[in-house]
């Protein structure tokens, strides 16, 4: 049985655990990652939503930064949502508070849509899905620039809000907050590939 680790330092961890269990239909085991050494046993990782400044700081404090970078290099499938998207990027525009991990060749604009009153729900056309996906954006970042090996999967207006580069699937929205399992299923399919 595939074991999937959800980084459990801060944010909506339990929502991702539930969403993975739902999409996995008993075929995956989901564990929370809080300590060094726990990632090794995982076949895939999820970086949840939360506050990227807080999670980045905690990665250092828990000694997980290098392990996460190594896991990404080894090709472990990684699903990064919202704060997770900020963390996996190469660069964050005009913002020194978060030092990204540089796992994906993208440049991020944090809080790209404004404060919470500008947070929104939208039916999104996502490459690879036949019907629109109802997506939830909360003080969301956007991908401002993508590098060569990066495939753009969805946009809101001009802003890129979903992208994939090899083993990394990164989203500006929260598939764990809605009941539609299709995004988590795409991610689970990456484990089998």
């Amino acid at each position: 049985m595939a074991r999937i680790g959800v980084l459990a330092l801060q944010g909506d961890v339990s929502e991702h655990v539930l969403a993975l269990e739902r999409a996995g239909k008993g075929k995956v085991q989901v564990v929370e990652i809080r300590k060094s050494g726990q990632m090794e046993a995982c076949g895939a990782l999820v970086l949840p939503g939360g506050e990227s400044t807080t999670i980045r700081r905690q990665l250092e404090s828990f000694g997980l930064t290098q392990e996460l970078k190594a896991a990404a290099r080894q090709g472990l499938p990684i699903l990064a949502t919202c704060a997770g998207l900020v963390l996996v990027s190469q660069e964050v525009e005009g913002d020194s508070m978060v030092k990204p991990l540089g796992l994906m060749d993208i440049k991020i604009s944090r809080n790209a849509f404004g404060p919470q009153r500008e947070s929104f729900e939208a039916d999104l056309q996502i490459k690879g899905l036949d019907r629109p996906y109802h997506a939830v954006f909360i003080r969301a970042p956007a991908i401002a620039q993508v590098g060569d090996g990066v495939e753009v999967l969805a946009r809101v207006g001009e802003a890129v809000v979903a992208a994939r580069q090899k083993n990394l699937l990164a989203l500006a929205f929260h598939p764990e907050l809605t009941k539609d399992p299709r995004i988590h299923q795409i991610f689970l399919n990456m484990l089998e590939a």
Partner: protein
């Protein structure tokens, strides 16, 4: 994707915002400089206010929402969410906070109540957090549209006992719903003056349907970890940080304590070298009429 098809201010967006705060520390700040200290320490959000609760207690007079200039300067200073307090029932203060770009309003008993009714929170685009001492209060606030609950505790005392009492009360009441049939749930809903559907939801989920933080008297890393071990989703720290001898060290330590709340060796380490915590006062010595937790209903 057409930009005109977006939906704003839904319950999912409001409760979702609160969920992103889970496992984090939200710190009271009164200046942009304090907000930066909070952000650097790893706070998930800051609460902008005119004075911390301990000073509000001392100053007396009418406690109102913070000055717009202060709130704007704090929003400008940090990238994390900024919350601000409005008086209970003062929906115009809340409207102003929303217009200023605040991410969440705390309809707070720490400020002087403006009405016998709480704010009709469903009418707003931004989410609200409200205090509660028990399940009835929590359900009434959620029914009014609160997207997040926190214990009231007894703000500005540095005495965690009331936050403990309120957290235990809410969890205990939810546990007691387990296994009840619908007639029994109806009776409970009547007794605690709560909406029946919410009581049913709490019974089946065995928790509140929104995020539930601890607040009111948290002053040390040990206090914060205590609340987490008691089942809080996260912690608000009011006077505890900027009324301590070394706010920066205290802020760092409380964030660490919330993240590693079940690791006693680490809690011991982060509790060292912090200087004096806020002096505080024993909450049981406060006369009934002066207790902030009795505001709101």
């Amino acid at each position: 994707m057409e930009l005109e098809n977006l939906r704003f201010g839904t319950e999912l967006l409001k409760r979702g915002f609160a969920k992103m705060q889970k496992g984090g520390v939200i710190m009271d700040v009164t200046t942009p400089e304090q907000a930066v200290i909070a952000e650097e320490a790893g706070a998930v959000a800051v609460m902008a206010l005119h004075a911390v609760p301990a000073d509000i207690r001392k100053m007396g007079g009418v406690a109102r929402m913070a000055h717009p200039e202060i709130i704007e300067a704090i929003i400008e200073a940090v990238t994390i969410p900024v919350m601000a307090k409005a008086r209970i029932g003062h929906f115009v203060e809340a409207q102003i906070l929303e217009a200023l770009g605040v991410d969440m309003v705390d309809e707070s008993e720490v400020l002087t109540p403006a009405d016998e009714f709480h704010i009709e929170k469903t009418k707003f685009t931004i989410p609200f957090v409200c205090g509660a001492r028990n399940l009835g209060e929590a359900c009434r606030r959620i029914k009014e549209g609160a997207a997040m609950i926190r214990t009231k505790g007894e703000a500005g005392t540095g005495d965690v006992s009331q936050a403990v009492l309120h957290m235990r009360m809410i969890h205990g009441q939810i546990r007691s719903l387990k296994g009840m049939d619908d007639l029994q749930l109806m009776k409970v809903a009547r007794e605690i003056e709560a909406d029946l559907d919410l009581v049913r939801e709490c019974a089946s989920m065995q928790r509140l349907p929104v995020v539930n933080f601890a607040a009111g008297g948290v002053a040390t890393p040990a206090d914060a970890a205590l609340m987490m071990q008691l089942g809080a989703d996260g912690v608000f720290v009011g006077s505890g940080i900027f009324k301590s001898e070394n706010p920066q060290a205290m802020a760092d330590a409380i964030v660490e304590a919330v993240h590693h709340y079940d690791d006693a060796a680490l809690l011991a380490r982060v509790s060292k070298g912090l200087g004096a915590a806020m002096k505080g006062m024993d909450a049981s010595t406060i006369p009934e009429a002066e207790a902030l937790q009795n505001r709101g209903w």
